[in-house]
């Protein structure tokens, strides 16, 4: 089976064709925003920055920048900075640009000092972005195998349907993507608490299983250090209102999005898998955090599987808008009432399983087809708005 994608010189395949603008430090945020709003076909992030963070967190931030640039959906990248040697070594413009060059894609560095001031930087940035966007438009979609596709999934706004229809439907689609040679990443370390036993058994490499257990233990220990019952934090109030009573209950529903195939590897935060198949990535469940991390790990599409029983009526915006940055963020639900409440935002509903109209196999096939259609260029509904919520990289802290 195949999809239509943008084939890059390095053999990877994008489902979108963006030019990325990275502000490598906070003073470059203004320029990134201005260039991005001037040139269609660009994507950018506003960085909260690296200042006062320890080296592991600064590396996490650099990995987000470089990972987004290496994402197959990106044609070229412009790295903006204050000065060549300004700030911490992990996020120097040259360091970021070199990390991207390994990937064989065009990259330019522009700094405020070298350009002769902020406004001059914006002007040069616009010129460079327009050139790249035009070059990108020369790349045409081609038919490529599904083995070139990497999908990242998160679940949220969970309710009882998450574990009955929503996550199992994605699990079915995930199995199918993997059987076609593709790759699927799941994450949300906190939502393995209480469900880790079965997940660990599926790790192909026992060392990965051990690391996964350590990741879960680390998150549980840090939850305990708050001095609170974790259910005062997660499950969130909307989960509890929708009938989820403990983190274990939420986790057991959540892991069903991982389907049934063996787990080929356990990845660090924002780390790209080296092979195909199913992977677990350490990550924070937040909708402002996980999609961008999955995109930085190479996922061309991110998917948010929501329960949504506690969703307000009348087409509310989703919990996160376009936080995959360069990777479309699809919204799917297994709750038929959620699909009715938010038709402008929900890309697919597997709620037919709850009403008894459809089988899991049927909705799994339909969801698979929807993912492939969005890979081929159908807009995820979130992509019909020109807005992106803030992104929050998963920092370990503390800050100083």
């Amino acid at each position: 089976m195949e999809f239509l994608g943008y084939v890059r010189d390095n053999g990877e395949v994008g489902v979108r064709n963006y030019v990325l603008i990275i502000p490598s430090c906070r003073v470059a945020n203004i320029a990134a925003k201005r260039i991005g709003s001037y040139v269609p076909g660009t994507k950018t992030i506003i960085t909260t920055g690296e200042v006062g963070r320890h080296s592991r967190d600064r590396e996490r931030l650099a990995n987000i920048y470089m990972g987004l640039a290496k994402n197959p959906n990106v044609y070229a990248t412009i790295v903006l900075g204050a000065r060549d040697d300004f700030g911490y070594k992990e996020v120097l413009p040259e360091k970021i640009a070199n990390g991207i060059k390994d990937n064989g894609k065009p990259v330019s560095i522009l700094t405020i000092e070298e350009c002769g001031g902020l406004e001059r930087l914006i002007e040069e940035g616009i010129a460079k972005a327009r050139e790249y966007v035009h070059d990108a438009s020369l790349v045409k979609r081609q038919l490529v195998p599904i083995s070139k596709l990497q999908i990242g999934v998160k679940c949220g706004w969970s309710d009882a349907t998450s574990g009955i229809s929503g996550n199992p439907a994605f699990g079915f689609a995930a199995d199918k993507i993997i059987d076609e040679g593709g790759t699927v990443l799941f994450s949300e370390t906190v939502e393995l608490i209480g469900a880790e036993e079965e997940v660990v058994k599926r790790c192909v490499n026992p060392e990965d299983g051990k690391r996964l257990l350590e990741m879960v233990k680390a998150v549980e220990n840090s939850a305990k250090q708050t001095g609170e019952d974790i259910r005062s934090i997660n499950p969130i109030p909307s989960n509890i209102k929708a009938g989820i009573s403990t983190i274990e209950e939420k986790s057991l529903g959540a892991v069903q999005k991982a389907g049934s195939r063996p787990i080929n590897g356990v990845l660090e935060y924002a780390q790209r898998p080296e092979g195909n198949g199913l992977y677990f990535m350490d990550g924070w469940a937040s909708a402002y955090s996980l999609p961008v991390s999955l995109a930085a790990a190479g996922c061309q599409i991110t998917l948010y599987q929501l329960g949504g029983q506690d969703l307000p009526k009348n087409d509310p915006p989703m919990l996160a808008v376009n936080t995959g940055v360069v990777a479309p963020l699809m919204f799917v639900t297994g709750n038929p009432s959620t699909a009715k409440k938010a038709p402008r935002s929900i890309d697919y509903s597997s709620g037919g399983v709850i009403t008894g109209e459809k089988t899991l196999e049927e909705v799994g096939e339909e969801l698979f087809s929807k993912i492939i259609s969005i890979a081929c260029g159908e807009l995820a509904k979130g992509e019909t708005v020109d807005y992106m919520d803030p992104i929050e990289p998963y920092f370990l802290g503390p800050v100083f």
Partner: protein, 95 residues
Amino acid sequence: MVLILNDLDNVAVALEECKEGEQTTVKTKSGEFYDIQILTDIPYCHKCALKDIKKGELIIKYGQPIGIATTDISKGEVVGVHNIEGLRGRGDLKS
């Protein structure tokens, strides 16, 4: 109707709102049906006890423990944060 997700479970999920005093259908994992008397209102997506559960007994859903009963729970009663608690991530308890 309430749905049992695993044969080992002692709770089922309400696939529609169930009202106090009514009889509702229980659907098992293998697709069999039987009736249960509902003792308290059970909102859509919330859990119903399938048997009498003693305080301190594990609550089983998906065939796995999801927590422990903090009070005696009767068959047909709604199960939620008011009568069960989790066993993991309990920073509020001294270890």
